[in-house]
């Protein structure tokens, strides 16, 4: 973990992302500001549709084709702005700084390409090494990511490997360019439960040994508890709560965070109460309405919640890094246990 006096590697400020299709216009990200510091694991948590993937991959130009994207605000990596750049410049910045791991490795790897040579060509391009060196690096990467018999697997096609193996290949591919930041978008969701733990361990190991920052996009609180240094809870495109993993998971303040945690049966073996969850469903993000997005489902909602957007305020008395976007919960004080 790093202290916040350090320069952030990747940060977004007041990021607004609108997605347009012929049918709907959706405000997927609505004024998000976040920083990722060197070597830390930032978990971005939220339900599907909360904008966690769009927020992270949008500024990198990695949203799927077929959707028109409008990004406003500011996003930078190592002091270089990511927005308003040509496709070529952005591609270079992506390659040099980021490694990305997607949810479903089976569809995220090109079925026509052997895994080894693909790793090697990526290493050759981004590390400027010879072909022979690139092959050695590719084999090292396969070894590093825990693939047994790298030599034997070198010439395999994706369809010849299991999902867990492929996710390791995906991680190797993300590491091939010596990235500063690893973005893992639901890296374990598509995998078997037993494999999930191994992949998380691998990611943790990489983060510790190589001091790479990781942005972990997930809806799984137990994954957050296992890996994260800091947590940002997203709801309907806005940050509801942000803080250290300890603060957010054990002393949640925002009603949404509390609800989210209560919908997890047993993330640390401490709970015995029945799972409660959150009534209702996420709001329709196609229309822009004033007020707090969570108000409709919030047990503590008051009249003012529907009139004014709540600001993200620092919990000054405890930990400056802990911020919550709910004036009601903040005024009631922090630290209520989450099963109140």
């Amino acid at each position: 973990m790093s202290d916040s006096t350090e320069e952030p590697l990747f940060s977004v400020r007041d990021l607004v992302i609108d997605l347009y299709t012929e049918q709907v216009s959706v405000r997927a990200v609505d004024g998000v500001s976040l920083d990722v510091y060197p070597g830390e694991v930032l978990a971005v948590v939220g339900e599907s549709g909360s904008g966690k993937t769009v927020m992270t991959l949008g500024p990198l130009g990695l949203l799927p084709e077929g959707v028109s994207v409008d990004i406003r605000g500011y996003a930078e990596c190592s002091g270089q702005s990511l927005l308003a750049r040509s496709g070529k410049e952005l591609a270079r910045l992506r390659g040099e700084n980021f490694g990305i791991i997607f949810q479903d490795p089976i569809s995220a790897l090109n079925p026509m390409k052997k895994v080894g040579p693909q790793l090697a060509s990526q290493a050759m391009r981004l590390r400027a090494v010879s072909k022979a060196q690139a092959r050695v690096i590719a084999l090292e990467l396969l070894q590093r990511t825990g693939i047994p018999d790298p030599e034997g697997r070198y010439n395999c096609y994706p369809h010849e490997m299991s999902g867990g193996m492929l996710q390791r290949v995906m991680i190797a591919l993300a590491l091939a360019g010596n990235p500063k930041i690893l973005i893992a978008d639901e890296p374990t969701t598509a995998l078997d439960a037993t494999v999930q733990a191994q992949i998380l361990e691998l990611l943790q190991d990489i983060q510790r040994k190589e001091n790479i920052a990781i942005v972990l996009i997930t809806h799984d609180i137990s994954v957050v508890a296992q890996m994260a240094d800091r947590v940002a809870v997203l709801y309907a495109g806005r940050v509801a709560e942000y803080g250290t993993m300890e603060d957010v998971l054990t002393r949640p303040i925002h009603p949404y965070t509390k609800g989210l945690l209560s919908s997890v049966p047993d993330f640390r073996g401490q709970r015995t109460e029945p799972v409660t969850g959150i009534p209702g469903s996420p709001p329709d993000q196609s229309s822009l309405l004033p007020g707090c997005r969570f108000a409709e489902r919030c047990p503590a909602a008051q009249h003012q919640c529907r009139e004014k957007r709540p600001a993200l305020v620092e919990m000054a008395d405890v930990n400056k890094a802990h911020r919550v976007a709910c004036p009601i919960a903040v005024s009631e004080g922090w630290g209520q246990s989450n099963d109140s």
């Binding site: 992506r94 390659g95 790897l109 369809h159």
Partner: protein, 313 residues
């Protein structure tokens, strides 16, 4: 893998047998007696019934159909297609003379269509909805709709009549092949460029394309590196079909440019009701179609690692 190819090959041979048997049966059932036609040619309109009968006996025309088919097929396999009713020349000689013309036309047209369709489809995908994409889409639509003979006429008007650059009729010069090849290539090129464009678009919306972007490639890089290899199978399948369809283009083009190829031979055979030549030409077409399709099938099997490796194991 080997088994798969062997099975496809056997199937192809069966297809040739069935198709040739069907055409043979149909042509044999045609009105108009071959023996009478021959008799008419040798002895004039007043050919006697006995002459017709003896010619029919000589040719074995009174044998049962399967026997005749077997005899014909055996002869054809040995390169003996019989003699043309129109010219009296052995059809095998005609083929030997004409096959290179049609072959060259198909190869040149196929090469043009192959190259240009990839370029046009890729350019359209790069432009992706821009003005160039729209223009190229219009070009493909018109190219797939304009009749061959009209295209040929327009080319002659432009390059021979107005500009005077190219000879209007095929001679021996290499330049005389340009217009026929372009004409024959336009249709497959247009269809194939749409196949490239549409499939590229589809592949670009798949997750592994996003992975390509994530690896630091530009849109062009992803198109060329990740998407293009993945459209190989649909592209080659359509290319095979279009390549065989060029036979029709060849028939028209050979007629327009007075080229002495197989296509022109087929049309002459039809016009003069030269059944023997028709049969032989149809057999050669069938073999060509089935062979091209078999070749494409095998190439597609070899290209797709999912199929290739699976059947090995």
């Amino acid at each position: 893998m080997f088994q798969l190819i062997a099975r496809r090959t056997l199937l192809a041979l069966a297809m040739i047998l069935a198709a040739s048997a069907l055409t043979f049966a149909l042509i044999s059932a045609a009105p108009g007696n071959v023996a009478a036609l021959i008799a008419e040619r040798t002895a004039g309109p007043a050919a006697s019934a006995e002459l017709v009968q003896s010619i029919a006996d000589d040719l074995g025309l009174n044998d049962p159909l399967p026997v005749r088919y077997g005899r014909w097929l055996l002869g054809s396999v040995n390169g003996n297609f019989g003699e043309s009713l129109r010219t009296g020349k052995p059809i095998a000689d005609e083929f030997a003379e004409r096959a290179p013309v049609t072959g060259l036309l198909l190869l040149a047209g196929g090469a043009i269509a192959f190259t240009l369709s990839l370029i046009i489809g890729l350019l359209g995908a790069i432009s992706n909805g821009g003005p160039l994409d729209k223009l190229l889409r219009a070009v493909s639509l018109v190219g797939a709709s304009a009749p061959n003979f009209f295209v040929a006429a327009l080319l002659v008007m432009l390059f021979s009549v107005t500009l005077g650059w190219l000879p209007a009729f095929a001679g021996s010069s290499a330049a005389s092949w340009i217009m026929p090849s372009l004409t024959i290539a336009l249709f497959p090129m247009s269809v194939l460029s749409r196949v490239v464009r549409v499939n590229l678009q589809e592949v670009m919306s798949r997750p592994f394309a996003t992975t390509g972007f994530a690896m630091g490639y530009t849109r062009f890089g992803v198109l060329a590196r990740e998407a293009l290899p993945n459209i190989a199978v649909p592209y080659l399948t359509t290319f095979g079909a279009q390549f065989t369809l060029m036979i029709i283009g060849s028939i028209v083009v050979e007629t327009v440019f007075a080229l002495k190829g197989i296509g022109a031979f087929f049309i002459e055979a039809i016009r003069f009701r030269d059944f023997i030549s028709m049969q032989a030409t149809l057999l050669s077409f069938i073999v060509f179609f089935v062979f091209v399709n078999l070749l494409v099938d095998i190439i597609c099997l070899l290209i797709d690692p999912r199929i290739r490796r699976q059947s090995n194991a």
